[in-house]
């Protein structure tokens, strides 16, 4: 449903991206998309998905326990899982990575279970462990990366392409139409990861 013609892949100009806006840093994603000339709308409740053609979904950073709970309480869980299952491109940052993972190493909760990765929550420790660095991202070269109480990818299936590693830990990956980063591209001026999502997922 979301696979448009090749020309619309070249840029995000014709796309409409839904950004999950239950809690956390969703407005930063909308600003990043705006700077790329891509339209976006907020998803706060089920009705926000009605009568919309949606070309991609962004799951922002925040607290995965909060967003995961609200997904269920506000009846968004089923509709979003269905969208992703049917091929709508999805991009999760930080908490969004945790929501998309099929397993979480240190948390019994399970959320959208869309990607064959095991996430490790708060993998770099508490806020004192948060850090900013620059690292290599496959196809994009060196990009700035901000990690806030971030997870990493502790394990991944063979069909998952690891796009970036920091200190030996996988921090970005892609599986088909799903992209995840443990860091927050939306908190930096760099738009290359958002562009990557619009062009490759």
């Amino acid at each position: 449903m979301s696979r448009r013609s090749l020309c619309s892949w070249q840029n995000g100009a014709n796309k409409m991206i839904g950004v999950l806006a239950l809690q956390g840093g969703f407005i930063e994603h909308i600003h990043a998309l705006d700077r790329l000339g891509t339209a976006a709308f907020e998803i706060r409740k089920k009705a926000d998905l009605d009568n919309k053609s949606i070309d991609g979904l962004i799951l922002p950073g925040g607290e995965s326990t909060v967003i995961g709970k609200l997904l269920r309480d506000l009846d968004l869980f089923g509709p979003l899982q269905k969208l992703i299952h049917h091929g709508t491109p999805a991009f999760g940052t930080c908490a969004g990575l945790i929501l998309l993972a099929k397993a979480i190493a240190n948390d019994p909760n399970e959320y959208l279970s869309a990607m064959d990765i095991t996430a490790q929550r708060n993998a770099f420790g508490r806020q004192l462990g948060s850090f900013h660095t620059s690292g290599h991202f496959a196809g994009l070269g060196k990009i700035p990366m901000t990690f806030i109480r971030a997870p990493f990818i502790a394990a991944a299936n063979d069909s998952v392409e690891i796009l970036s590693e920091i200190n030996g830990h996988a921090v970005a990956a892609k599986q088909g139409h799903i992209l995840v980063t443990a860091f927050h591209p939306e908190l930096t001026e760099d738009l290359s990861v958002h562009r990557f999502f619009l062009e490759n997922c």
């Binding site: 809690q23 969703f26 929550r121 908190l187």
Partner: protein
């Protein structure tokens, strides 16, 4: 500004649209996390009880804070007295995620706030108006909250502070650039911060509402007035059914413009905290630390 300060502002950005709940033990912390709190504030007594008990109120026992850190996976915050940088050093040593330099506790210094730039952990501070907010930011606060009267269940002061800050921001936005130097003098804050507010029409850090929030409607009111999230202190664990009320307030913050949902969230919550009206209070905590 260094990396650390940016990272600390970034954590506050990730708390936006969320509810930070006061808790006094691991059980309450777990109830708060389960109800959808985006962070918990660990303290020995909630503000309503601090107000009732009287006496000097201080930083919590680090052992209790550590137990709460083990009990939940969300960020854990804790309060220090205004100006008490040694308490802040202790909280940094136990790797707290955010320090609230708070008027709820008895002030340790009646003149100077903590030099928060000296710390690696982030600070949130209260503000009644734009001058206070920008002075705290100049000292290194990476998040601001209103100073609504704690432990009262009365929203009037939080509303007053939020409106005041918003009005003063709009006034600065409308001023000519050559008037900003004088505005900085009047507000008693650095010119660079005044210029930022003039240019962007907002504070350079995240701004939450705090003090007196007791119902989903209170939370929605503060969000519609421009708060980016809310702190709920006594309102939850002084009410009849804390878990249920906490969940309702979390949902109200996410859908603060959806009156139909707010109506259903407001049903059957049990008793709200009794509260005290502003005029009935002898001690105005918001007047501590300007």
């Amino acid at each position: 500004m260094n990396d650390r300060y940016e990272l600390n502002k970034n954590l506050a950005q990730m708390l936006k649209g969320g509810v930070i709940m006061d808790v006094t033990n691991p059980d309450q912390a777990r109830i708060a996390e389960k109800a959808g709190a985006c962070a918990v504030m660990a303290l020995e007594r909630i503000p309503a009880d601090i107000r009732a008990a009287g006496g000097v109120s201080r930083m919590s026992d680090p052992k209790m804070i550590k137990e709460i850190q083990i009990a939940v996976s969300i960020p854990v915050m804790a309060k220090v007295r205004i100006g008490h940088f040694a308490e802040a050093q202790i909280l940094q040593a136990v790797e707290i995620d955010y320090i609230d330099e708070s008027e709820v506790l008895s002030p340790a210094d009646d003149k100077y706030h903590i030099d928060k730039m000296k710390f690696s952990v982030p600070f949130v501070c209260g503000a009644k108006d734009l001058g206070e907010a920008l002075r705290r930011i100049a000292e290194g606060a990476s998040m601001i909250r209103t100073k609504g009267e704690p432990g009262t269940g009365d929203i009037v002061q939080a509303v007053r502070h939020m409106r005041m800050i918003s009005q003063q921001i709009r006034r600065l936005q409308n001023q000519r650039e050559d008037e900003l130097f004088h505005a900085a003098k009047e507000l008693q804050v650095p010119y660079e911060l005044v210029k930022y507010v003039h240019d962007y029409g907002k504070l350079p850090v995240v701004n939450f509402a705090a003090g007196g929030i007791a119902t989903p409607a209170d939370a929605a009111l503060m969000m519609q007035l421009g708060a980016e999230g809310v702190f709920v202190g006594s309102g939850i664990f002084k009410s009849g059914d804390p878990g249920r009320r906490a969940e309702a307030i979390v949902k109200a913050v996410t859908n603060f413009n959806n009156a139909k949902l707010l109506a259903s969230l407001s049903e059957d919550l049990g008793d709200a905290m009794v509260g005290i009206n502003e005029q009935e209070i002898a001690l105005l905590m918001a007047e501590r630390g300007k």
